[in-house]
């Protein structure tokens, strides 16, 4: 793009550039950095005092329950990601390749709605639907099955995660696959590639970047959610978000909650960076 006049900093340019810098430094960068600092503070008699001690870190990281909770959260978030990616794929495939342009637009329109509506109420609704005497067991009872215990299990937690992540994953997968050049798929079929092989050999490699990004988002959302494991999983297993919640709300141990939070952020950054590196890595021999 060509340069515009008044390239030098002037009042007009600053008016539009500065607000977000000020605002985010005070209310975003500030809180995050303060949280890091806080992880070194001390708590005495339920009061936090500023200090620079590693006691919170050594206490948290040496506790078995922290690591149990850490690996449980990583595992369940990974399972949630795999489930969401697999469940969403056939639907996204259908919307991307079998549906008309307008159907696809309507489907995405509908899937955006839950993303911006109360997740909390939706989770509570599942709580009622899945309960011992709830709708699902009611229906199963008619055909002589059940009742099954679905709440307070990993299954319950996963239903919650799917509620949170599935619409977004279907949207991202659909958009990615809809952007694939259709002639490449026809070419593969023409060269004798069987339908399933086409999915593995052509569609997935071509939409790799978008699929990985969908998976990263799904992992971040599941990893950081406390509602599903709390209400639908019944806190049977403590996830890291629940640990933060408990440590902050009941124990007034903000510095230790900060340690957990920083560990979570570190894990998420590591996973996001690895994922993005994989997504944009060129395959060997690729021109």
């Amino acid at each position: 793009m060509s340069s515009k006049p008044n390239k030098s900093i002037n009042l007009y340019a600053l008016t539009w550039r500065l607000p977000i810098i000020f605002w985010q430094f005070i209310f975003f960068v500030g809180p995050v950095l303060f949280m890091v600092a806080m992880s070194f503070f001390l708590v005495k008699n339920y009061r936090m005092t500023e200090a620079f001690e590693f006691v919170n870190w050594s206490k948290m990281l040496s506790r078995g329950y922290f690591w149990d909770s850490y690996w449980y959260t990583v595992t369940i978030a990974a399972i949630s990601t795999i489930c969401a990616m697999c469940i969403a794929f056939p639907a996204a495939f259908a919307l991307a390749f079998r549906a008309s342009e307008s159907t696809r637009r309507w489907a995405i329109f509908l899937l955006i709605i839950p993303f911006f509506t109360s997740y909390l109420v939706r989770t509570f609704s599942w709580f009622v639907i899945l309960s011992e005497n709830g709708v699902v067991n009611g229906i199963l009872g008619y055909i002589g099955l059940g009742p099954y215990t679905m709440l307070n299990t990993n299954f319950g937690t996963l239903v919650g995660y799917m509620t949170l992540t599935l619409p977004l994953v279907v949207i991202l997968q659909t958009v990615t696959m809809a952007n694939i050049d259709k002639t490449l798929i026809e070419a593969a079929r023409n060269l004798g590639c069987k339908p399933l092989a086409t999915i593995w050999q052509v569609i997935i490699p071509l939409s790799k970047t978008g699929l990985i990004i969908a998976a990263i988002f799904c992992f971040i959302l599941s990893f950081g959610d406390f509602v599903a494991p709390f209400y639908l999983g019944g806190s049977q297993e403590t996830t890291l978000p629940i640990l933060i919640l408990d440590t902050t709300k009941s124990g007034q141990q903000w510095p230790r909650a900060a340690v957990v939070a920083i560990m979570m952020m570190g894990t998420l950054f590591a996973i996001a960076f690895t994922g993005i590196a994989l997504a944009y890595r060129k395959r060997k021999g690729q021109k």
Binding site: K4, Y12, A13, W16, R17, P19, I20, I21, W23, Q24, F27, F28, P31, V32, F34, M35, M38, I87, P90, F93, A94, R98, A107, F109, L111, I112, I113, P114, F116, T117, S118, L120, V121, R122, T123, F124, S125, F127, V128, I129, S131, N133, G134, V135, M162, T163, L166, V170, G224, D225, Y231, P241, I244, L245, T248, W254, A261, M264, M265, L268
Partner: protein, 266 residues
């Protein structure tokens, strides 16, 4: 091509099931809100408006509704203003550190809400701004500004890059051009951004719960009721919350779509 048609039917059913799963909790919540059973199941109980009567009689709910309204309207205005400024800066100027500059606005939604909640709570306590309604507004504006930014930036992409220069060329100063060209052009996106950020703010519970103190919003009330036991009042409040946020999101998309149509025509 018989197998192909069978496959299409199977895929169609599958997509329908996915949509059923996504919308089941919303629809059941609405149904339960008019159901007389305390523990709703199949078959349903009688039709009742008992739960709505209960929440309407509850002053806490009214207060929370008012708080939610104040928070989401203020958040929408601040976040859309911030989003507009940033989108315009990104559109118009090239400058050093533009990557970090954009990261500043785009990063917050990628950080789990529980972490943002803890960080905001601690920081607001530190600087003496905790427990107020405006604490929630500030926190929400940080979280929602990127949505407004994205919608407005997409709109600016559709603008003829000569349009701004044309206004200067006709004697408009940069400020006048902003007022008479850029803002009118972005108006649908600005409205879309307002509704979208209001919707996100209206539903957010984790950060609100941490920083709100005694000024509870509707999602915080729901959170607290749910912690106790099953209370069908939640369905009534939930239905109300759903209707409001869905209206906001649909309005946002209508403005988004209408301008797509218009740009396609020309």
């Amino acid at each position: 091509m018989n197998t192909n048609r069978t496959l299409n039917v199977i895929l169609g059913i599958y997509v329908a099931l996915i949509f059923a799963f996504v919308f089941a909790p919303i629809i059941f919540s609405m149904i339960f809100s008019f159901n007389s059973q305390r523990f709703p199941t199949i078959p349903l109980g009688n039709f009742t408006t008992e739960w709505y009567a209960k929440i309407l009689a509850d002053p806490d709910v009214w207060e929370a509704a008012l708080n939610s309204l104040i928070v989401s309207v203020s958040t929408a205005v601040i976040a859309t203003f911030l989003g507009f400024c940033t989108a315009y800066s990104d559109f118009r100027y090239n400058f050093r550190f533009k990557g970090p500059y954009l990261a500043l606005i785009l990063l917050p939604p990628t950080i789990p809400l529980i972490i943002m909640a803890l960080a905001m709570l601690a920081w607001f306590s530190k600087i003496g701004m905790s427990g107020q309604i405006y604490s929630i507004v500030i926190a929400h504006s940080v979280l929602t500004a990127p949505f407004a930014m994205a919608v407005i930036r997409l709109r600016l992409n559709q603008m003829d890059p000569d349009l701004e220069s044309a206004a200067w060329n006709l004697g408009g100063s940069e400020w006048a051009t902003m007022r008479h060209v850029i803002i009118p052009f972005c108006k649908p996106a600005i409205l879309s951004g307002l509704f979208l950020t209001a919707a996100v703010s209206f539903d957010e519970f984790a950060v609100s719960w941490f920083v709100s103190g005694l000024n509870k919003t509707l999602p915080v009330i729901i959170l607290e009721i749910v912690q106790g036991n099953i209370d069908p009042q939640v369905n009534a409040i939930g239905t109300f919350v759903f209707l409001i946020s869905m209206t906001l999101v649909v309005l946002a998309q209508v403005f988004f779509a209408s301008r797509q149509m218009k740009s396609m025509k020309s």
